[in-house]
Symmetry: C2
DNA sequence: GTGGTTAGATACATTCATGTACCTAACGAG
DNA sequence: CTCGTTAGGTACATGAATGTATCTAACCAC
C-alpha cells in the first residue's frame, strides 16, 4: 500500500468501516472462521485498533450484527389489504433480517458455547422488533374483517415468521416470492379466514 | 488410571466407545468445540487411535452422527388413525432425530465452511429416511379418507417436520407434547381435512 | 505551530489444537 | 508359545489465532 495520501480514519468513520468489515466476514465464513485478523485486514487496519474498541471477537461480532440491523430497518407498508402487507413484510425480512437470523442462529453456535448465552435470549434481544410489526399488520387485517381474530392463536400468529426463518435456515438463501406466497396463501390465510368467507375462491 | 487390570479394547468395541464419546462431545459443546483430544479423553484412549480410523475431526463427527442414528431408528406405528400416527412419529423425532438435526444443522456450521458441502446435501443424505416414513402415514390417512389428497402439496406434506425442526432449532429442547398437538390439530389437520368433514367439531 | 490523542504497523509471548512419529505392551490367531 | 497386530502413551513439529507491547506518524484542538 503506502499511498502518498494517507487518509487516516478516526472515530465513527473508522468504527463503521470496521463493523462493516466484520459483518462481511460473518457473512462469508460465519462466526466459526471469524477472526480479528481477517476483520482488521478487510477494514485495512490492524488488530490493536479492534482491541481498543471491543474486548474480544464475540463483542465485535455482536456489535457488527447490531450495526447492520440499524442500517436495515424493516418498514411496515400499507398496500390496502392484509395479504399484500404480509407478503411485503416477509419479502423484506427475507432480504434483510432473515439473513441476519441465519448467520446469527446458525453460525454463532460457537459463540454460545463460549458465553453460555441461551439462543432464545439473544434472539429475543436482537429480533424483538419483528413481531410487533407483524402484529400491527395482523391487527389491521382483523379490524377489516380479513381474518378471524379468534383463530389467531399465538402459534398461528407467529407461523409466517417461523416458516420464513426455517426456510432461510435450511436454504441459506433469500426466500423466493413464490414460496412466500405459498406460506401466505396456502397455509396462513386458510387457517385464519373468517367463516363467512370460507367458500370463496380467490 | 493404570488399573491393575488393563482391559484393553479392540476393534468394534473400541470403535463404538469412541463414537459414543464423540457424540457426547457434539452434544455438549457442538462441533465448534469438538476436539480430537476431548473425544480421546472421554473415550479413555488417545488421539493416534482416532486418527487410525478417521482422517480428521469432520470425518469423526459425521461417523458419530451416523452411529447414533443407527442406534435410534424411528419406528412407524399404527394407532388406528392418522392423527395418532403423526403424533407418535413427531414425538419420536422430537426425542431422537430432532436432536440430531439440531446439533447437525446448528453446530456443524463450522464444518460447512471447512468442507464446502452444502447444508442441503448433507441433511438430505442423513435425514432421507424421515420423510418416507411420514409419507407412509399420510398415504394411509388419505386411503382412509382422513385427509384430502389434493390438498397435500409438497410443502404441506413436509409442514409438520418443518415445524418440528424449527421448534427444536429455536429451543434446543425436546418439543412438549402440547406443542406437537398444536402442530397437528391447529395447523396441519385443518389444512388437509376433506371438504365433507369441514363443519365437524372433534 | 504545539501537544495530546490515536491510527497503523510490527513484533512477541501464549495458547490450543492438529496430525505424525515412535515406543511398549497387551491381545488374538495359529 | 510365538508372532503379528494394534491399543495406549508420550513427544514433537506445525500452524493459527489470541491478546499485548511498543513505536511512529497522522490528525485535531487550542
Amino acid at each position: 500500500m503506502k499511498n502518498h495520501t494517507v487518509e487516516r480514519r478516526r472515530g465513527k468513520a473508522l468504527e463503521d468501516a470496521v463493523l462493516d468489515a466484520a459483518w462481511s466476514e460473518l457473512l462469508g465464513g460465519g462466526y466459526a472462521s471469524f477472526t480479528m485478523e481477517a476483520v482488521a485486514a478487510r477494514a485495512h487496519t490492524s488488530r490493536p485498533v479492534l482491541y481498543r474498541r471491543w474486548q474480544n471477537r464475540a463483542d465485535l461480532a455482536i456489535a457488527a450484527i447490531r450495526h447492520i440491523m440499524l442500517k436495515h430497518p424493516v418498514n411496515i407498508t400499507n398496500t390496502g389489504n392484509m395479504r399484500g402487507d404480509l407478503i411485503a413484510l416477509l419479502q423484506q425480512l427475507s432480504k434483510d433480517r432473515a439473513l441476519i437470523a441465519v448467520f446469527f442462529s446458525l453460525q454463532m453456535s460457537e459463540y454460545f458455547s463460549e458465553t453460555n448465552t441461551s439462543m432464545a435470549d439473544l434472539r429475543k434481544s436482537l429480533l424483538q422488533g419483528d413481531h410487533s410489526q407483524f402484529d400491527v399488520v395482523l391487527a389491521r387485517g382483523a379490524d377489516r374483517g380479513e381474518i378471524d381474530r379468534s383463530k389467531l392463536t399465538p402459534r398461528i400468529a407467529s407461523l409466517l415468521v417461523d416458516l420464513l426463518r426455517h426456510e432461510v435456515l435450511m436454504t441459506l438463501k433469500p426466500v423466493p416470492n413464490a414460496v412466500i406466497a405459498e406460506f401466505v396463501d396456502d397455509i396462513f390465510l386458510p387457517l385464519v379466514r373468517p367463516k363467512s368467507a370460507r367458500g370463496e375462491k380467490k
